[in-house]
Amino acid sequence: MVLGKLYSKLIKALMYGALSVTLLTLVVIVLNAELGTIIIKLCLLFFIFIPPIGITYLMFKSFIRKDYTMLICLITILIIIVSNILTNICLILQHLLK
């Protein structure tokens, strides 16, 4: 199968997963507002991580296909994104536990 279709399937699965959990959480909020808010915050965080997950997947695919130009570009992008996440890791934990 071609790269675009595989990427589309992955992003679709992740998006639908995140959206379904968020919808279920809206029910949880009615029962326990505090717990619901924490789960929603986690869902939003997961939502932000969908593009980096997609990039990692593309990276592996381009490695398998021996497309080294694309691989170098994707690694560079991933380094930028991961360094941004690592810089903010303390703030992420603080925000979730607040």
Binding site: V2, L3, G4, K5, Y7, S8, I11, K12, M15, L19, T22, L26, T37, I40, K41, C43, L44, L45, F47, I48, F49, I50, P51, P52, G54, I55, L58, D67, T69, M70, C73, L74, T76, I77, I80, I81, N84, I85, N88, L91, I92, Q94, H95, K98
Partner: protein, 256 residues
Amino acid sequence: MMITAFLLFIIATCIGMVSAALGIGGGSLMVPFLVFLVGLDVKHAIAVSLFSVVSTSLSATIVYSRRELVNFKYGSLLEIFAVVGAIVGSNIAIMVDERLLKIAFSMILAYSAYRLLRKNKNKTLLKNSVKRSLTLSSLGSFAAGSLSGMLGIGGGVLKVPIMVLLLGLPIKVAIATSEFMISLTASTAALTYYVRGYVNPYFAVAAIFGSFIGASVGSTVAVKTKPKILRIMLSALLIIFSTTMILSCLGVEIWS
């Protein structure tokens, strides 16, 4: 709260539809609505808007990549230059007069609109191959990133014309690739606002759901729309942005 979230959902659906069809993030359309209609302050509006942009771009990428319209190779290459450009641009912005930047930006947009319309007449861009050198387009992408860094805009409005005019990509491929690139940029920016606590979770969820639905419809429509119509629509959008910038330099704020 519920009414505001519902209003946000409707706005996000409409903006998501237009944005996904034209290859832009939609942040420049969303933020003014959130500030003036919903009453959020600018930082909270940008935070919610970024989640909406991520949702729009991901939803559009699902549709476009399924049809093999996304050029991942050029998308990932240009994204590097755009990110570096954004870092350089945001540093330069401190030293340069904002009005000068806005005038330069509006001129580029107006020229891009003109070129897009003129190319449409010549019908020279229907080939599926890349005509110009990568160096030129990388420089163009760096410039687009710099301008977005200087002016605080998403850059989708610049990325599509660059890919069409410099790389010679077909308009649908350019739109699809732009959405793929925007998803990466917007998610990185969204994290910064998220960790600083600017995101209202309920508003963000409403914006995400609205954008997701709107973008699914918008991108499906765009796939079936003739390239000529997409070109005209994109040119119209560029002219609107260009005019808004010039008016803002003259002290006329349309949104307020």
